[in-house]
Symmetry: D2
Subunit: 272 residues, 4 copies
Amino acid sequence: MLPLKLKKVMDVTLKLGGDNFVFWGGREGYQSILNSDIKKELDHLAAFFRMAVEYKTKIGAKFQFLIEPKPREPTKHQYDYDAQTVISFLKSYGLDQHFKLNIEPNHTTLAGHDYEHDIIFASKLGFLGSIDSNTGDQALGWDTDQFPMDPKKTALVMKTVIEQGGIAPGGLNFDSKIRRESTDTEDMFIAHIGAMDAFARGLKIAAHIIQGDIIPKLVKERYNSYETGIGQKIEKGEATFEQCEEFILKNGEPTPHSGKQEKFELLYNYYT
Amino acid sequence: MLPLKLKKVMDVTLKLGGDNFVFWGGREGYQSILNSDIKKELDHLAAFFRMAVEYKTKIGAKFQFLIEPKPREPTKHQYDYDAQTVISFLKSYGLDQHFKLNIEPNHTTLAGHDYEHDIIFASKLGFLGSIDSNTGDQALGWDTDQFPMDPKKTALVMKTVIEQGGIAPGGLNFDSKIRRESTDTEDMFIAHIGAMDAFARGLKIAAHIIQGDIIPKLVKERYNSYETGIGQKIEKGEATFEQCEEFILKNGEPTPHSGKQEKFELLYNYYT
Amino acid sequence: MLPLKLKKVMDVTLKLGGDNFVFWGGREGYQSILNSDIKKELDHLAAFFRMAVEYKTKIGAKFQFLIEPKPREPTKHQYDYDAQTVISFLKSYGLDQHFKLNIEPNHTTLAGHDYEHDIIFASKLGFLGSIDSNTGDQALGWDTDQFPMDPKKTALVMKTVIEQGGIAPGGLNFDSKIRRESTDTEDMFIAHIGAMDAFARGLKIAAHIIQGDIIPKLVKERYNSYETGIGQKIEKGEATFEQCEEFILKNGEPTPHSGKQEKFELLYNYYT
Amino acid sequence: MLPLKLKKVMDVTLKLGGDNFVFWGGREGYQSILNSDIKKELDHLAAFFRMAVEYKTKIGAKFQFLIEPKPREPTKHQYDYDAQTVISFLKSYGLDQHFKLNIEPNHTTLAGHDYEHDIIFASKLGFLGSIDSNTGDQALGWDTDQFPMDPKKTALVMKTVIEQGGIAPGGLNFDSKIRRESTDTEDMFIAHIGAMDAFARGLKIAAHIIQGDIIPKLVKERYNSYETGIGQKIEKGEATFEQCEEFILKNGEPTPHSGKQEKFELLYNYYT
């Protein structure tokens, strides 16, 4: 029974001085809506997490609780589908102060988002605690757990980590697997080297982008109408619909800035 | 500018005695992560909704605010991706008391869930306010807005509506479109008749299932270990890990009930 | 080595009087385009099938060779992706006289088509030899091998079988699996009963549709401009562009018939 | 009516000295299997192409006929789904001598394959005639027609073009569109420059890979068991199952080479 195992692992983690504690709910979901009482299952899941929080307090542990979102496989539909689903769950059950997220981009793509999506959203919403670096394959619909090898993707991850000022006590871990056909012993080493290099290269790209300040400045400019006047009031939460109306009637429709997506893609190619 | 239009429509809705007010944010999302400041955009979206709530209060309107989730198209990734993403957003910005959801199952399938998923989750989490009945096509990746024609699906929707005690002041609306090749005038009538029949048949199926009490009873049995003893204590939030441990050491691992998915599918076929 | 096993199984099949011989190439594909010589692999696959044809001739076996298409899993991309990919392969290598297809609709949905698609296309192109009835789940991206339970789907399969005058020496087989959570012994029986019932009900629906002649007649009408005049000449392959031009200049643009998809869906609901 | 328009365009193409003639069947497919006679529609499509071939012969035109595969949108399911589906169709109707393929990788990803898949398969099967360079977005399910910006992808395309000795009289064309939010005039120029650069960079990468001969050599080694002995006989089509059996009984099971996918990915990163 899960609570029993969990209690033991929490005891051991405390003893070993562990900094993080990941809940990988890889099978907690429903297979068929016909035989499932969704509300009961969510309630039970919350009860389980509450017991964990209470026990952690009782033993005086300080490690960070983390939930790793995953949309499916082997279940049809997991309760911790993606970052925002978990945040919805945590806030609905008053558990959001006790948990952060351990994001695996492989699961993010399986949920229909891009590799970096949940990393960025979790970070911006204050929930990014750790990263499980595996990549998936967007043409495939199962959990391939491949070694991450695309610097264009790792750079976006590292840029997010830099922007949030690091990720301690969490970190970046690999639990990737080599392919079934990679049958030489050296393949395991090559894979780790390749993936670490991909992240190292990603970190350098991210640093160049931030230091070069061309891309960040262009992004900033896109939103500069929120820095003064009515825009600033909107951003500060001080504006009203009546003030917006007055502004438009006086100034006319504002011209939108071009999104310049192709320019950003071209610039990004320059850095990668 | 959006706030201006919205103010007008709120004034008009108040005058006409409207019961519901749907925010269809069908383009509010990002196209490229490279040129987007996600945090700023979410903040601005929240500021916009706060202004709407304030203005509604000011004019003394009582209509229900609703947000209609949609994952994508034409944007790459919308901020109101699915039911739980919107709930996460609303709770993150303290707006959850002011909004319910208008679920369109067509958008639910586009987000990678089954037709009924968001209807059921929104309902169980207390956010189901209204239903936009369009169906999509699970083999296609865009918003097809087809007339719903599958009683096996409409029955699950109507069962949820019955279980939550009705859906007023919201309702069930069609904004489905006939196919491009359906060029006769009568096709518009046939489509509405067919879709209304599909929901009427769905309602009858749902009523039979609930009254027959075979399926609901089987579901209830699946969770009956939570009705007494340690299970009941867990459900009530009164159990601790230590008590769970004590229970297991004394009683051994509990035997899981069979999910009996095939039996449920067979029984469901009997009703549909 | 595969040829060795295959030789043995062919010998045994001959001895047992087997009618069909299925090649399930469930892993014959590529994982990465970077390390694969696609042309060589297709050539080798064809060489393998040619040896099989030669050996079958040599031992005087009469059983029907069948290939079962499957798009992926565990490989990234299989060479026998779907029905038309296999037909392309067989014709490219001059093997099309020696093979038919064993279609598993579960694989068809995994390839991005609807459940019945490959059954119908294989049949209409003269390649449907046998059916493996498993169903998948259109919301999932892996091979779930579920028991088929939807009469709306099985009816389309049985309609195709009736239209091609039966499927002997092939047949309809289940190699479906019960779900991991279906842990009672009786679940295996229930699943088979439910799936056989779904096909029996599908056969009855198909027979009613064909005998009722409402749907078939409407389909026929949709194409009736090909039964006389220039349409008939086009269908017979006797028309030329000049004749089409002459016809249009004299008669103007023909009015297209309405596709009436919603009427067909409504009528199909009547039968199912 | 289509034949009429087509005749005119063929006349004009002849007059202008056009080298290629692309059939973009972007809407030739079925929306619903219920109202469609698939066989009739394929027959009519073939009749149409036969008239085109006859007319081309009659006017003495030498331009290359090309078909551009596309899986869907706006139809549910097109008849020219992907490269191998079109090859299957062409061979089934005896039209394969008269047509090549114009591959748009954007359509390839929409069909569930990787960007480069149809380019490579069409080339290896002798059907690659021209390339429409647009890219799609693997996280989206519709035809986004974006400017190609990923050198890792364009390199695979250019490598294929080099390997087949060029692509004349076809070529590489852009009919990509800038995003809806790219509202500056300069965005159109930036997008073309970025995409041309991506292909130029792809060509250089491909040339380095081929000249460096590290990756090609490793691929060659993977298949070297087909260069001598029984392997060579299999490849030449001279082996029989009996000879394979004899070989195995004498030599035991051959050890498979490691696929070394991660090494290939790491090396590919070195070049890109």
